[in-house]
């Protein structure tokens, strides 16, 4: 393990992720604030960021716990949100196959939206799979450390931030930063518009069920639009 951390590739990955980490700071702060609002003590707040390690899932879980939604609804909604990891996992699998088993399992844990993008770039750019794996480990380690610290700071200091600053607005903004670039792709626009109309039209549903129903409808609409586009192109 020590050799891993001392390697040049690990350090490069760690340093390369630091600018992205700065962008995550407000998101982490808000996740910590959310954990506090859900009634977590410091250990549970740390558990959320250290075990779940996904800002969107942490925010959603915290909101649903605070709204007293049933356990099964919370877990199911977060599961649908986490389905995108299946896609990342399938995309990463061929790159990770030459690496040792334990390394694959650690890297899978560190697979996040940000680390995925950086890791794919590196694996494509270099033939050295082991080096690229260490680079990925460095990216993941930087994100993991900064994430724990920012969530903890948010949990401890959240109520010191004046509410007039509207810090909670940083949450949708972080999601918008991930969402808006997808709009270059027509079926993604169909998926987003469908999910958007559905989530507002069904906002009267209890337990935030509108979220999961709208998500599934959006995924189906996007898939159908994609299939239709393919058929159209084939003609």
């Amino acid at each position: 393990m020590r050799d891993h951390i001392a390697s040049k590739d690990f350090r490069e990955g760690f340093v390369e992720m630091l600018p992205a980490c700065i962008g995550l700071l407000p998101f982490g702060l808000v996740c910590g604030v959310g954990a506090a609002a859900a009634g977590a003590n410091w250990l549970a707040a740390l558990g959320m960021s250290a075990i779940i390690f996904s800002g969107a899932a942490q925010i959603l879980a915290a909101q649903l716990v605070a709204a007293d939604a049933p356990f099964a609804v919370i877990v199911l909604t977060c599961f649908v949100l986490g389905l995108r990891f299946l896609m990342y996992s399938a995309a990463m699998a061929p790159y990770l196959r030459p690496l040792p088993d334990g390394m694959q399992k650690v890297l899978a844990f560190l697979l996040t939206d940000q680390a995925f993008a950086a890791a794919v770039r590196r694996f494509n750019a270099s033939d050295d799979h082991h080096g690229a794996g260490l680079h990925f480990l460095g990216c993941g380690a930087a994100l993991y450390l900064v994430w724990q610290v920012s969530c903890m700071v948010g949990f401890l200091a959240g109520n010191l931030i004046p509410s007039a600053w509207s810090l909670e607005f940083a949450v949708p903004l972080c999601f918008i930063a991930l969402l808006a670039p997808l709009f270059r792709d027509a079926p993604s626009v169909v998926a987003a518009v469908t999910a958007g109309i559905a989530v507002l039209a069904m906002s009267h549903l209890p337990m935030r069920l509108n979220l999961i129903v709208a998500g599934v409808l959006g995924i189906v609409a996007g898939t159908l639009a994609d299939l239709a586009r393919e058929r159209w192109k084939a003609r």
Binding site: R84, M92, S166, A192, A195, G218, G222, D226
Partner: protein, 108 residues
């Protein structure tokens, strides 16, 4: 379920499912390729779920009707334009928060 216990149950269950999803094609189904229809559908999880998450945080509800003429909606649209053009989280955050503060100050 009692509060603290339920929170820990959620943390463990969501954490485990997230890890299994991340591990899926790396280890669990390493010998299989993803069914093409599933691969196609998964491409639209981010667009659909992110939109479903964002809108309730941005749009206010007055009784049964959604209110779109608010500083939050305008600031979110400005942030979306910046995100579309720059793909930068920091610039999106900066533009969105600045727009919200300005609009709320002008609105008041």
């Amino acid at each position: 379920m009692e509060g603290a216990l339920k929170l820990w149950a959620v943390i463990v269950a969501v954490g485990a499912l997230n890890y299994l999803s991340r591990l899926s094609f790396i280890a669990l189904f390493a010998r299989r390729t993803m069914p093409p229809l599933l691969a196609r559908a998964l491409r639209y999880v981010p667009a659909a779920m992110l939109t479903a998450l964002i809108l309730p945080m941005v749009v206010d509800f007055k009784g049964a009707a959604a209110d779109f003429a608010t500083p939050r909606v305008a600031a979110a649209l400005i942030a979306a334009a910046v995100a579309f053009a720059t793909r930068s989280t920091l610039k999106t955050l900066g533009a969105g928060m600045a727009a919200l503060w300005l609009l709320e100050w002008a609105y008041a």
